[in-house]
């Protein structure tokens, strides 16, 4: 009896295995994939536009998307250029290949890119996407659709806005890292880790973009010289369009309002009574945001507690030896911070960009108001312009370093 069973089992397995053995459908060796490490998106210039080949559509027969053509610059790792193990001296060859293609949409451009490469384009190692400011101001949602549909894309990849054309960043050869795009990606990741920027990755961007009561923000990079990149501020959006940018220090202010604990920014605070100032650096913050309706108008009150540290004083004239002096500095620092917060909020209000997510607070805490008056993201943007707010900042300087004076 059991022998019969066994034979049947073997026969069935055999028949099933035949089609499977012809398979290995998804098997694609790592060196046969064109590992795209970074992508830069720019607006295509006039001359470039003419170079377009008919890859994904035939001439004018098919409806061509209305939007402007884009230029995609991809940085692709060249297998063999980056050796295993410690770097041998004399590796002057560039380890990456930079390819520029144009297209009507992102996917169109990617198809054009595939047309130029022997290996299959693989986006699993895409670590950073740079969008030039020009394109960002026109809207980013046209890229996101592909990025969201494609399972290869990491949700933890970075998305940044660049001041210059994005292709410049692709050609960059920083010396701190063997692979240029990794350096670029590390800038965003590491600056987040040391408190220079709020957490920012593409998944978070999408999440905020979909939520009704908040607008998105992205890091804003600028080139300094030939080889260094600077975090130049925070690009803020209205809907999917970039509407403005902050100064670097305002990133710290923004983080304070958002209630991101880790502080990394320092600012000069003028010591009252003296003409000199000291550098006060935020160590940690604690933020409480309360929302209510004042006469039917939404009102936000923000309480921020700062833990700071004095990093440097400008001249020997200031004596930091007594706590009264620290009290004064604390007060001054609170005042300054409060001022800049108010300024930043007013700035974003003007541009309809609620990057602080006050809308989410209203939606969560005052659902009746929200359901009755707001409901949609567009409506909230309108209302955001009119909301009132009050800010209270409380700084504490607990540390002055190893110097007693």
């Amino acid at each position: 009896m059991w022998q019969n069973h066994r034979e049947i089992k073997v026969v069935i397995l055999f028949f099933i295995l035949i089609p499977i053995l012809s398979g290995c459908w998804d098997s694609k060796e790592i060196e046969k994939r064109a590992n795209v490490l970074a992508i830069g998106i720019d607006k295509a210039s006039e001359e470039e536009r003419k170079m377009e080949e008919d890859v994904s559509h035939l001439g004018k027969k098919f409806p061509i998307p209305d939007e402007e053509m884009i230029k995609v610059t991809a940085q692709i790792a060249v297998p063999g250029r980056i050796p295993l193990g410690p770097q041998q001296p004399g590796g002057a060859v560039k380890p990456v290949l930079v390819v520029k293609v144009i297209g009507h949409t992102f996917q169109d451009a990617m198809l054009n890119l595939q047309q130029e490469l022997a290996d299959e384009v693989f986006l699993g190692h895409l670590r950073i996407i740079v969008i030039s400011e020009e394109i960002a101001r026109k809207g980013t949602s046209r890229f996101n659709d592909l990025l969201r549909r494609n399972p290869e894309i990491r949700r933890t990849a970075s998305l940044v806005v660049s001041k210059e054309t994005a292709s410049k960043y692709m050609d960059l050869t920083p010396e701190l890292e063997r692979i240029p795009s990794l350096y670029l990606a590390d800038i965003v990741d590491n600056l987040t880790a040391i408190g220079k920027f709020p957490p920012s990755f593409i998944g978070l961007f999408w999440t905020i973009y979909s939520s009704k009561g908040q607008d998105t923000y992205l890091p804003y990079l600028a080139l300094k010289g030939k080889k260094t990149i600077q975090l130049n501020g925070l690009a803020y959006f209205h809907g999917d369009k970039m509407v403005g940018k902050t100064s670097p220090l305002e990133i710290g202010v923004f983080m304070a309002v958002r209630g991101i604990g880790r502080g990394g920014y320092g600012a000069f605070v003028e010591v009252p009574g003296e003409d000199e100032s000291v550098l006060v650096r935020a160590v940690s913050r604690k933020t409480r945001t309360k929302v209510k309706l004042k006469n039917g108008i939404p009102h936000v009150s923000i309480r921020i507690q700062y833990e700071s540290e004095i990093d440097e004083k400008e001249s020997a004239k200031i004596l930091l030896s007594d706590s009264d002096m620290l009290k004064k500095i604390e007060k001054e620092s609170s005042k300054n911070t409060k001022k800049s917060i108010e300024k930043l909020i007013a700035k974003t209000q003007k541009l309809n960009s609620d990057i602080f997510g006050f809308g989410e607070h209203f939606r969560a805490k005052l659902p009746q108001y929200w359901n009755k008056n707001v409901k949609t993201k567009e409506k909230w943007s309108e209302i955001y312009k009119t909301i009132t707010f009050d800010v209270k900042v409380d700084s504490h300087i607990h540390r002055v370093g190893m110097k007693s004076k």
Binding site: S27, L84, G124
Partner: protein, 555 residues
Amino acid sequence: MSLFRTKKRSIKKPQLLTPSKLGEEKGSTPTSSSLIETEKAVKEILGVNGDLQIKHFKVFGQFSAASVYLSSLVNQDVINQDILKPLMYEPEHLMGREKTLNNLINLIITETLYHSQAKTDANIDELIGGLLLGETVIIIDGVKEAIHIDTRKVEKRAIAQPETEQVILGPREGFIENISTNISLLRYRLPTPDFQVKTLKIGRLTKSTVAICYLKGIANETVIKEVEKRLSEIDIDAILDVGYLEQFIEDNPFSPFPQTQSTERPDKTVANLIEGRVAILVDGSPFSLVVPVVFNQFYQTTEDYSSRFLMGSFVRLARMLALVFSLIFPSLYVSLISFNPELLPTEFAVAVAGGRAGVPYPAVIEVLIIEVSMEILREATVRLPKQVGGALSIVGVLVIGQAAVEAGLASPITVVVIALTTIGSFATPTYTAAFALRMLRFPIMILSGIFGLYGIMVGVIFIFNHMLSLKSFGVPYMAPVSPENYQGMKDVIIRSPLWWMPKRPGFLQPSNQNRLSKNANKILEHNKVGNDQREDTTNGGSKGDHNTSSNDNLN
């Protein structure tokens, strides 16, 4: 079901090989009272053998007799000193007493021979059988019965360290081929009447002695019965090693996993007996077969128990990791390289791609080629003479690996992966279990070549399901993990301190579960007391008591 199977198979086998054609003809004819006739009958059967010795002499100077033996099997000294001398040179206490043919046998056995193992028999068949086992037979003219005296002497090697199961801490003895030595090694560790050894003979030609050893009152009676039943149903011409038995008594012969444990170590055997298992020994094999087994036994060693529990647990964890390594590491590599390179850190992925740039084959083929050559290399090292083997393995690994990388046949990472896998498979203490995983590695590798990680998972589920459905003598193979058994679980991943495990593993359903006496569980308490000794010396005395009592129970 398997019982049924073994039975059927043995019946199917045509009885081509009669155990002894010569003996069969004579059948069980009784010995004649005439010396000449008996001698003739013996010579007819064994006459061609040069080592058959028949010496005629006169018992007490009166009765003509002959001693018959096979000179290759006996101890000549014993025959000369303890048998022939007292028979030929009439002892003093017998002088003057009446000796007739009737009381002669009784006189010889009870008052003359200086030998403890003597018996009478009146059957040619038995006589021949006895001769072949090394007995000396005294035939006396006019007496029907012959006297069989055990004078067997077989060369055996000395007790040595077990080759396949080395330990750092623990006893150094291993079994040898001789079964009585092996039983003596067990008896030496278990001086208790509960330790029982049942013997039976299996094999029509070899007539091998098979011993079933167990601890009465601890081992489950049904398991003992089952073992006896399965063994008694074996009908084969030869049992040359305990492995022959294994193949007849295991539950699922088609499974890659061993369902019995064979060990060279008497201490391990004893430990298993104490847990309530049954050990099977065969004359001529330096291994004992322990049943029933569960899977976790195969990565445990006696050393785990003889070393301190932290150390034992750590080593065991490492071993489990090695087990997992040896099963799925190459397939994991294949699926990372060919299917999901996004799982690797970018820096590493780019570098690996560089390393593989010149390799012409897909990762599956590459890994398969190297794995197969590794298997060949391993087999070759086992077969080669010791002096050459050591050299070859080093040469093989270093030179071939290096050359393969340089020739572009394999990427350096592949070599690292295969090397780790091979080392991992050596870390499994039981050869048979390691072998099972080594074999199963290949189908998983092929699956991973087709489906990537999904394939590995499917393969692993297949394997686990198979293991979960296995049973060894009624005990589920994956016990005590599933079906769960709290007592047994303490000894699966870590090796809990002995005093945490006061009971024998319940999944073996031992008749007696208790290992530790109740007060032995106070070890931790009296440790605390011991620290307070300076303040309260009266407790010091009780500490010693506890220690001795617990020791008694642990051994």
